[in-house]
Structure formats: structure tokens, C-alpha cells
């Protein structure tokens, strides 16, 4: 299909249902968009698309944005569902599952979450302990998941559990779709050092999942999960998309505003530090751009770890320098530490308006500590770069060839 036809179809959609119109809800519009094949153009016909190149989705989005004030970003509507859930259902789901699940993901009627992490399996995701035992047509699950974004509002969870502890760890996992309303699923907020709960812990106590909700074959869970994880990691890292934008713009601003309170020498030292960070942030942006160019020419891969690793270290350093530049004001933490679900609007990593940037810097001083942990620790990223990009040999492994149950854990 040509771009022009896609644009034409988008205009037809908009003639029919317009997102700006009163009475047209988000679900109404996205439902129509899905039915017109303009939701996920790379998905098959009947499932939101036309089997086109994923790049062409931009044409549709552009067309909508140029004719409507209202535009629903997938990242906001249902990030995990659209980014990971829909693709995995498309690849591994039954026809029935594709038909019933994907559209509701796209409209945002069903929010999705991803449940791989466990307390005892951090970097070693495949070492997870949640057990799934077959019982008739069901699997019965017991265990605990952690760091589950959106679990408290989700209808469906993508879950990895151990169906066979007697084989090496990667071989004993299976992949399930869990209805989060099932009995025995207990979702609790997980408070972070910011006192906010972005994430959840999910306790599974004799939770039953029908066998049909296993995606991929029994014991093939790791393979199914890998696709999901790849999508996740490439979404992290990469820096600001605009020159001088992002966190470093907050630093530049704080530095300019706070200069009067310190000696010229101290200011010079902080300015050089800020300039180093400005340059690094800019090079992160350019490196991401280069990586994307390479990816377009058909070479995706672990190079994305450069951006993930660098961004974590740069951003942490930027926020810490912001607070150093705030000087004594950095002794105060205005959001306070009442335990809560995220509320503030200062926590984004983009630029912020008015006085928000000072609050943002302080919040991010704490929040950014996780940048080098979440989605793969910096230590793991360095392993990936060393082994998969540079081809350095791995370490002796003690857990590869033996049954999962015999691997020391804790």
C-alpha cells in the first residue's frame, strides 16, 4: 500500500469518527481506528493493520495529528499491552486469543502488565522460582512477582513460571497469560525510595490458569519471553531527542539561576562539569541516532546496550549535579515522604515549566538511582557489551548444565 492510500484511508476514518468530537471517547475512536486497520499497520488485516512495514504507522499518526487536536499515544494508553502484549499474542496466541485480546489492548479497555521479575531472580531472570503445576486442564501457580508496573490496574499479565524444575533453568519455563482478576492474585504497591509506588508486588497463591492461556509450548517460555524483553530494553536508553533537551536542560537552568550564591571558582567548576554532561548527553542523542540508522539497514542487536548503559550513568550524574548546584536548597525535599501512588507532574525526564524543575531535580536525584538497575543493571549491560558486541569470552558458568533445582539460589 502506498503512503498516499494510507493517508486517504486515515482521512476516511477521521470523517467517520473524529477524536476531537464531543461524545467520541478514546475507546470509540481507537476501536474505529483498529477496525479500519490503522491501529497497528504492521499487524494482519482484521487485527488492526494491513501487514505493512511498521515504519508506515508514522504516516497514519502524522495524518491524525495534522487533522485532530486529540492524539492518543500508545505509550500513554497501554504501554506494556501495546508494546509487548499485542506482539506476543500475535506471534504465539490462538486465533481466539488474537481475536478477543488484541483489540481491547489497543483501545485501552484491557491494561496489561508483565510479570517476569521475582525477588530471588533479579539479573538472573531465568532463575525464577514461581512454580506452575499441572492440574487437569489448569495450571496451579504459587510464587511472588515483583516490579510489576501497572499490575494494580491490569486485566492481563504476561507471566513466566517454572513448569519443570528438573531441567536446566532456561528449559523449565513456560509463558502464561494471567487474568489478573483470578482468585489468589494479590497485588500490593511496592514503595520506592521516593515514597511513591510506581510498581507492585504480586503474590500468587494457588492461582489457576487454564492451559489454553499458555503461550508457546510447555518449556518454551524463555523463548517467548526473550522477544518481550528485547522490546523492553530497546525502549530504555537513547537520551533526549532534541539537542540540549532533557535533563541536561534542567541542569543548565539551575546552574544559571543559582550562580550568585557561590564563588566564581565553584561556579567555574560546576559549569565545566555541566558542560561535560551537556556534551555527553548530546553524544548519547547522536549515538542513538546512529544506532537507529544502523538498525534501519537491518542490523539490530545488543548495541542498544551502549545507550542504556550510558544514559543511566549520565542521567544519574546530571541529577546529582543539579542538586549540587542547588546548594543548600538541596537539603530540602518538598514532595515529602508520605507513601503514595505517583502523583506529581515534575517527575518526567523532559523539560519542565516554571519552578517545577527544582522539584524535578530533587525527585530525580532519588528516582534516577534505579536507572542503572531497572531493565538490566549497568553490570549486566557491561557484560552484554563485552561479550555480545566485543566478543569477549564468558565467565565459567556453574548454573548452565544442571537442573534448576540443584542451582544454589538466594
Amino acid at each position: 500500500m502506498k503512503e498516499s492510500e494510507l493517508r486517504e484511508r486515515t482521512r476516511v476514518l477521521l470523517d467517520e469518527v473524529h477524536p476531537d468530537d464531543e461524545g467520541v471517547s478514546r475507546v470509540d475512536f481507537r476501536s474505529a481506528q483498529f477496525d479500519h486497520g490503522l491501529a497497528l499497520v504492521h499487524f494482519p488485516e482484521g487485527l488492526g493493520g494491513f501487514g505493512l512495514s511498521p515504519k508506515l504507522q508514522a504516516v497514519v499518526n502524522e495524518e491524525i495529528q495534522s487533522h485532530a487536536k486529540t492524539f492518543y499515544e500508545n505509550l500513554v494508553v497501554n504501554p506494556i499491552g501495546i508494546g509487548m502484549g499485542a506482539p506476543v499474542v500475535l506471534t504465539y496466541g490462538s486465533e481466539e486469543q488474537k481475536r478477543t485480546l488484541i483489540k481491547r489492548i489497543y483501545t485501552g479497555e484491557d491494561i496489561w502488565c508483565q510479570m517476569f521479575s521475582e525477588p530471588s531472580a533479579g539479573s538472573d531472570v531465568a532463575g525464577l522460582s514461581t512454580r506452575a503445576v499441572r492440574d487437569g486442564d489448569d495450571w496451579v501457580l504459587n510464587g511472588q512477582k515483583v516490579w510489576t508496573t501497572l499490575a494494580h490496574v491490569s486485566k492481563w499479565g504476561m507471566l513466566l513460571a517454572r513448569t519443570n524444575p528438573d531441567v536446566p533453568k532456561h528449559d523449565g519455563l513456560s509463558y502464561f497469560l494471567l487474568d489478573m482478576e483470578s482468585p489468589g492474585v494479590d497485588v500490593r504497591p511496592l514503595y520506592q525510595i521516593t515514597a511513591e509506588a510506581e510498581f507492585n508486588e504480586v503474590f500468587l497463591n494457588d492461582v489457576r490458569i487454564p492451559h489454553e492461556q499458555m503461550l508457546g509450548a510447555e518449556g518454551q517460555g524463555w523463548r517467548v519471553a526473550i522477544t518481550t524483553l528485547m522490546n523492553e530494553r530497546s525502549a530504555l536508553g537513547g537520551g533526549s531527542s532534541r539537542k540540549g533537551g532533557g535533563p541536561v536542560s534542567v541542569l543548565t537552568r539551575i546552574l544559571a539561576e543559582s550562580g550568585a550564591q557561590r564563588s566564581p571558582a565553584e561556579q567555574a567548576i560546576l559549569e565545566d562539569k555541566a558542560t561535560q554532561l551537556y556534551i555527553r548527553a548530546e553524544l548519547l542523542r547522536l549515538t542513538t541516532q546512529r544506532a537507529k540508522a544502523t538498525q534501519r539497514s537491518g542490523n539490530p542487536g545488543p548495541e542498544g546496550s551502549v545507550g542504556k548503559l550510558a544514559q543511566a550513568e549520565i542521567y544519574k550524574d546530571v541529577w546529582e549535579t543539579c542538586v549540587a548546584a542547588l546548594g543548600d536548597d538541596g537539603l530540602l525535599y518538598e514532595p515529602g515522604y508520605e507513601l503514595r501512588r505517583p502523583t506529581g507532574d515534575f517527575r518526567g525526564t523532559g523539560e519542565s515549566s516554571a519552578e517545577k524543575h527544582i522539584l524535578q531535580a530533587k525527585y530525580q536525584l532519588l528516582r534516577s538511582q534505579a536507572n542503572s538497575i531497572e531493565g538490566g543493571t549497568s553490570e549486566i549491560m557491561r557484560n552484554i557489551l563485552g561479550e555480545r558486541v566485543l566478543g569477549l569470552p564468558g565467565e565459567p558458568r556453574v548454573d548452565k548444565e544442571i537442573a534448576w533445582k540443584d542451582v544454589p539460589r538466594g
Binding site: 533479579g122 549540587a324 538541596g330 542503572s372
Partner: protein
């Protein structure tokens, strides 16, 4: 420099560590940091009476233990390990040092016994909005000339400012920095809690509106106050050392027991070498904090420089150790329920308290002849 601790020192350390293990465990710290007051009167009284900590550096004639900076360093180090929530730095160190070094004898007689016995706490209100840590930038001026004056204006970053029974205010009188005593419940005094980055140490802003105050120093108190701040900063460096050491221990202990890919994470060089680097920094911090304390007790000319050196180095070492400890704990270290963040917040906050590491290094540079100035 002798640099060695006596058996009595080791005994002091054991005693206070034991006490804090019982009275300032994590549960207690979390309870107190969430409370408005921030400390427990009973514990404070016990610290004063049973352990003699409130009057540790107060002379015997004023009811204290008459100890020096070295003993104070030991106590502060243990407080840092335990993240003790108490007005110790404000009352027993900062206010006490200021009164000892700058106040008149009558005021010492009146105030110090009450502080040493734990009957009252005090704090020093000196910082103002502009250049808070620079004594020469203090602008508040007393109205009136005699023993009784009134004060108007604002002091900020006052440690334990909402709970202190006595507030020692630094203000100008005939241009000279002068100490004034203001009761915590004085007329015209508004005490507003500030939201601290480190919830285990309370901060306040104090507003004075023609608040009655008693002059308790004569002449220019600035040199004496500078020495009082050097003592305080040295004590704080020891507190930072104690926190750093605790972070190193937490990280190392976790690295020994947490298994990933079938072996302890501490067996991986990525973790092991981070711990080794922490160890080097902690040992350097120890040298910095101890040598500053010994220098004070030996009346070493270099004591103020040693204090600045210790503050700058221990601040950064603590901050590094706290961040590394969090990182080594992985996701767990990022949770509210794990204590890693309590140390991180103490570290970052105490790094900024009394001035940045860069500003303390500038003092070192000036003293040792680095730079044109």
C-alpha cells in the same frame, strides 16, 4: 600524630554501639523519622544520664564528661552507623561548642548543665538565606544595646529548630557577631519545620519578630564561632564515616549471600571491585575524620584545615558508599522497605550541610597554598 585509640576509647565505642543497637534499630529510626518531633525524650535522657553523651564535651564544672574531639568522633561515628535520630549534632555538638567557645561564663553556667543533663536541648541559629554557611554573610542585627535586646528576621536550616528548648542565635551587635539566647517558646518567634531530604534530621526555619533575646557573648564572636563550626564539621565527618562503614558492611554482607546465576554476587569482580573501591574510600575517610579529631585535641594549628579536608572527603566518600550500596542491592536497594535509602539521604544531606565539598576544598587550597588567592 599518635593516631591510636586507647582501651578506654574502645570501651566507649563498645558501650555506645551496644546502646544504639538496642535503642536505635531500624524500626526505631523509621518510627522517629516519620514523627514530627524526630526523637524520643526518654532515650535522649538515657543518653545523657546513663552514657553521659549529652555533656560529652562539656567541662566537669558544668556537669559534663569533659571529653575531647577524639571521644566525640567515636560517638559520632557510632551515631552515623546507627542513623540515630536525636538532636545530638545540634545540641551536644554545635550549640554546646558555640557556647563553650564563644559565650560568657554566666551563660555557660546557666546553659551547659541543663544541656549536659539532658534536661534541655539547644541549637544554633546562624544560617540565613544568602550564603548560609558563611559567618561573615550574617546580616541579622539585634535591636538594642544592652543585655536584653530584640531580634527580627529569619534564620534557616536550623537543626532541630522546632524542638530545641533554647535557641542560640548569631546576630550582629555593633557590627560584631554576637550570641543571643532565645527561649524556644519566646514571644514573636515562629518555628516552621522544613521538609528535609534526610528525614532522620529535622530542619527548621525560624522567624523572629521583635523577639526578646539575651546577649550571651561580648566582643566579636566570629573567630570562636569559626572554631565551633570546625569542631562541628569534624564531628559530622565522623558521623559520615560511620555511615560509610555501615554501607560498606551492608553491601559486603549482601554480596556474600545474594546468589545470581548460581553463585554469590560478591564472587563477580564487578561487585567485588566496587566493594574494594568502597573499602579504600572508607579507610581514607577514617584517616580524614580521625586525624581531624586528633588535631583538635592536640590544638594543632592545622585543625581547621583538617576539618575542611575531612568534611569534603567524608561527604563524598559517604555519598559514593551509599549509592554503591544501593546499586549492589539492585532492585531491593531501591525499595522503601530496605534501609539503603536512609543512608543515601543522610549522605546527600550531610554532604550539603555546612557547605559543599568544593567550598571546603577551597579552604584547604587556600591554607596549603594551592592557587593564586
Amino acid at each position: 600524630m599518635a593516631f591510636e585509640f586507647s582501651d578506654e576509647h574502645e570501651e566507649l565505642r563498645r558501650t555506645v554501639r551496644q546502646f544504639f543497637e538496642n535503642e536505635s534499630d531500624e524500626t526505631k529510626v523509621r518510627e522517629l523519622m516519620a514523627s514530627e518531633r524526630g526523637f524520643e525524650d526518654a532515650t535522649w535522657k538515657q543518653m545523657a544520664e546513663e552514657l553521659g553523651l549529652a555533656g560529652l564535651i562539656v567541662p566537669e564544672i558544668h556537669g559534663g564528661a569533659d571529653f575531647g574531639a577524639v571521644e566525640l568522633a567515636i560517638v559520632m561515628e557510632e551515631m552515623g552507623r546507627a542513623l540515630l535520630c536525636a538532636p545530638y549534632l545540634s545540641s551536644a555538638v554545635l550549640a554546646t561548642s558555640a557556647i563553650l567557645l564563644a559565650a560568657e561564663e554566666t551563660a555557660q553556667k546557666e546553659l551547659l548543665p541543663r544541656l549536659a543533663s539532658g534536661d534541655a536541648t539547644a541549637t544554633l541559629a546562624f544560617a540565613e538565606k544568602v550564603s548560609p554557611w558563611d559567618l561573615s554573610a550574617i546580616a541579622m542585627a539585634a535591636e538594642g544595646d544592652g543585655a536584653s535586646v530584640t531580634l527580627s528576621g529569619e534564620k534557616t536550616f536550623v537543626l532541630d529548630g522546632t524542638t530545641a528548648d533554647e535557641i542560640v542565635v548569631v546576630a550582629r551587635s555593633n557590627g560584631n557577631l554576637t550570641l543571643f539566647q532565645v527561649a524556644g517558646d519566646a514571644a514573636g518567634l515562629t518555628r516552621e519545620a522544613l521538609p528535609p531530604l534526610d528525614p532522620t534530621r529535622k530542619l527548621a526555619k525560624l522567624r523572629f519578630e521583635s523577639t526578646p533575646a539575651a546577649r550571651i557573648s561580648t566582643g566579636d564572636a566570629e573567630p570562636a564561632l569559626r572554631r565551633a563550626l570546625a569542631r562541628t564539621v569534624t564531628a559530622l565527618a565522623s558521623e559520615q564515616l560511620g555511615g560509610s562503614q555501615r554501607c560498606l558492611e551492608m553491601a559486603t554482607d549482601y554480596a556474600k549471600t545474594r546468589l545470581q546465576f548460581g553463585r554469590p554476587i560478591g564472587s563477580y569482580q564487578a561487585i567485588k571491585h566496587q566493594c574494594a573501591d568502597m573499602l579504600v574510600e572508607v579507610e581514607f575517610a577514617r584517616s580524614a575524620a580521625y586525624s581531624a579529631a586528633f588535631a583538635l585535641d592536640e590544638d594543632d594549628d592545622g585543625a581547621e584545615v583538617a576539618a575542611a579536608m575531612a568534611k569534603s572527603f567524608c561527604s563524598e566518600a559517604y555519598s559514593h558508599a551509599a549509592k554503591r550500596n544501593l546499586q549492589i542491592h539492585g532492585g531491593m536497594g531501591f525499595t522503601w522497605e530496605h534501609p539503603a535509602h536512609l543512608y543515601l539521604k543522610r549522605a546527600k544531606s550531610s554532604e550539603m550541610l555546612f557547605g559543599s565539598p568544593i567550598s571546603h576544598r577551597a579552604k584547604v587550597a587556600a591554607a596549603v597554598g594551592i592557587g593564586s588567592a
